[in-house]
């Protein structure tokens, strides 16, 4: 079989993309308006925000960390960007984006510094900053909200127009995914993130600057969440103190559905984006199929469980076939000189560090 094709099919992206196609096909067959120009546009707008945050979250998850503060960063950045361009009617879209991303990067620096330099557990740190950033945002807004009529036209129209039939918001998300994906796949510092996530002590031993890479991953996650804040501002034409609350777990869910291992070391930006697409599309298609809206959350939860269960089963089967292969190899070489190192290597194959190797 063609090696490249086999790799694509064995990867984690293909089944998710397949599921996405099935959902789209079934829904369109039942309700042809689902993929009309307007329907497609709305769907892509809905995907863009979660998708962008999932791209950033991937950087953190592959390092065996997590960033729970992204929802609060989104809210904070949306409000800061909105305040920066409020009342201004000129071409201030770039200003808004810049402010949003800078807010996100600063927030990411805070998280990253605490995790990287003080070596604090990521879950605790980002749970703490989730509350801190959310409180700061609420304190700044002070119960007020920014409305569409206070925002420059460039920002508002950014949320409702597109290019080549794809909303601008989705272009931002796709651009981030492309840059992030190429970086993680081809750049040395990108590969470092996987190395750290697969085996943190080993990564340290081979000389990877773990603290710097951790800082980088959190800054990327923060920047994406900050950018998502501006997308939020443009999409809803405003922001209030509830923006972004409760976004963190759906973002992690999107990554996990897309094959990003929550224990680090494996997963791609493309997978995370596909995961976000699948979850959002499921939601929108359920309402297009007139299934009551409230089933959406249950089905999304179920989908996540199915995804990780399937991953686990595939992993176990590969480990078993790898063991069988190794045993046959040993039998064939029976009678030759005993080979203790290979024996040791076999045993290591059952342990966490090399399981990701088996999957890849």
């Amino acid at each position: 079989m063609n090696g490249g094709l086999r790799r694509v099919l064995a990867g984690r992206e293909a089944p998710v993309a397949g599921a996405l196609v099935v959902v789209l096909a079934v829904t369109t067959a039942v309700n042809p308006r689902f993929l009309s120009d307007q329907g497609r546009f709305d769907l892509l707008v809905a995907i863009a925000i979660t998708g962008l945050m999932a791209v950033g979250q991937t950087f953190v998850l592959v390092m065996r960390h997590v960033d729970l503060s992204v929802g609060s960063v989104l809210g904070l950045s949306a409000f800061m960007a909105g305040s920066a361009v409020r009342g201004d009617t000129g071409g201030s879209l770039l200003v808004a984006l810049l402010v949003g991303v800078v807010v996100g990067v600063v927030a990411g620096l805070v998280n990253g510094a605490l995790v990287a330099f003080l070596r604090l557990p990521a879950l605790v740190v980002t749970l703490g900053t989730l509350y801190v950033f959310q409180g700061v945002q609420a304190l700044l807004t002070g119960g007020t909200r920014i409305n569409a009529d206070q925002l420059p036209a460039s920002v508002v129209s950014f949320g409702v127009t597109g290019f080549l039939g794809v909303p601008w918001l989705m272009w931002v998300c796709l651009l981030a995914a492309a840059v992030g994906g190429v970086f993680l796949r081809t750049r040395r510092s990108g590969r470092d993130l996987y190395a750290v996530g697969s085996n943190p002590p080993a990564a340290e031993l081979v000389g990877i600057p773990v603290a710097r890479r951790t800082l980088l991953a959190y800054m990327v996650s923060g920047a994406c969440a900050g950018g998502a804040g501006v997308l939020f501002l443009a999409r809803f034409g405003g922001v209030d103190s509830n923006a972004g609350i409760g976004y963190e777990l759906p973002v992690v869910a999107a990554c996990v559905v897309g094959g990003v291992d929550i224990f680090g070391g494996s997963g791609t930006v493309l997978g995370a984006l596909l995961g976000a697409m699948l979850l959002k599309t499921m939601g929108v298609s359920l309402s297009a199929l007139s299934v009551p809206e409230f089933w959406q959350q249950a089905i999304n939860g179920l989908l996540l469980l199915v995804a990780i269960t399937a991953d686990r089963i595939v992993l176990l089967r590969r480990e078993r076939s790898a063991r069988v292969e190794a045993a046959r190899h040993r039998r064939e070489h029976a009678g030759a000189v005993p080979d203790p190192p290979r024996d040791g290597a076999d045993r290591a194959g059952h342990e966490g560090a090399t399981t990701t190797e088996v999957v890849r």
Binding site: L114, V132, Q134, G135, G246, F294, G301, L304, L305
Partner: protein, 326 residues
């Protein structure tokens, strides 16, 4: 950090200081009615924090507890309307919690999936089932005899009816964690799963049971929540999971497992509740309270690390100085 001032003791000291300072600067704070209010306010968090301590100590986590509590609350309302018997409804609600916990436990211990990912999934699943069961409606016709348990106090005292439940369960969980074999197992598993397995501890069975107990107590918390607000609603207890986990971690339980005490966690829940109440009485806005909650949680992990580095630095310096002097 020195042995005398371990984190859980510090939290207890903080609690005592907060209560003392509060009593001095604000007579309302130490009043009986406010004490009752604080206990009622932290009731569900405290309940769920008890089994969550066990879970985090073994290195697992359950993010689905708030959804479990909400689902149990919805089942309470649904079963009450369907059967007309509160006793049946309560049993059904606790049973729902047990089933939810068992599903989590099955996925984690039998299939070997990560508890963080599993319980993010069941968080959505159970919450979705709440809406599937009740739709957008609420059940608000619980019998007055029961809802009085939710918001009136025990006659002759300022304490709400939930107090004895909190005390009995807190003592029971504390005894199990610190004085029984099961408790020793929890510490052992948290320190090293491998070593625990070699020592013959039934790790999977232990964790499965902990998930079931967590579900059951979350179900109980769902009932308490319903009675407190005299209604069952699909969006009940929203976001409680992070508040519970923040309390447990603030109480000195290590997110990596193996380290923690029950009285540290109980002190932490009481401390966070009294700080909130005290600041609210002083007119501090709710947003600032959110910042303080987050800041305290960060402090609980930052301070021990900084203190440890500081003492390591001092030790190194004194060794260098000793070597330098002839």
């Amino acid at each position: 950090m020195s042995r005398v001032l371990s984190w859980d003791r510090s939290v207890f000291v903080l609690l005592v200081v907060t209560v003392a300072v509060g009593a001095v600067i604000d007579p309302d704070f130490a009043g009986g009615s406010n004490l009752g209010f604080v206990l009622q306010d932290i009731g569900e968090i405290m309940l769920i924090a008890l089994p969550m301590t066990f879970l985090i100590m073994t290195g697992e986590i359950d993010l689905s507890v708030a959804s479990t509590a909400a689902l149990a609350g919805c089942v309470l309302g649904w079963a009450w309307q369907a059967s007309g018997s509160m006793a049946v409804a309560v049993l059904a609600a606790v049973g729902t919690g047990v089933v939810c916990g068992a599903v989590n436990g099955f996925l984690v211990t039998r299939l070997g999936l990560g508890s963080l990912a599993v319980t993010i999934g069941t968080l959505g699943l159970y919450r979705g089932l709440c809406y599937a069961l009740l739709g957008d409606t609420t059940v608000a016709d619980f019998p007055a005899g029961w809802t009085n348990l939710g918001f009136s106090s025990i006659p002759g005292t300022p304490l709400p009816y939930v107090t004895p439940l909190l005390v009995v369960l807190a003592v029971a969980f504390g005894v199990v964690l610190h004085l029984t074999r099961t408790g020793r197992w929890v510490f052992a598993v948290g320190q090293s799963v491998e070593a625990a397995r070699f020592a013959g501890i039934p790790v999977a069975r232990l964790k499965f049971r902990l998930f079931v107990v967590t579900g059951a107590v979350a179900g109980l918390a769902g009932i308490v929540y319903d009675l407190r607000f005299a209604s069952a609603r699909p969006d009940g207890a929203l976001g409680f999971e992070l508040a519970v986990i923040a309390s447990v971690l603030f109480g000195g339980v290590s997110i990596f497992g193996g380290v923690g005490t029950m009285w540290g966690v109980v002190s932490a829940v009481l401390f966070l509740g009294s700080v909130r109440s005290l600041l609210q009485l002083q007119g501090v806005p709710g947003n600032a309270l959110t910042i303080i909650t987050g800041g305290l949680l960060l402090a609980s992990v930052v301070i021990p690390v900084v203190a440890q580095r500081w003492s390591a630095f001092r030790e190194r310096r004194s060794r260098v100085l000793a070597a330098a002097t002839p």
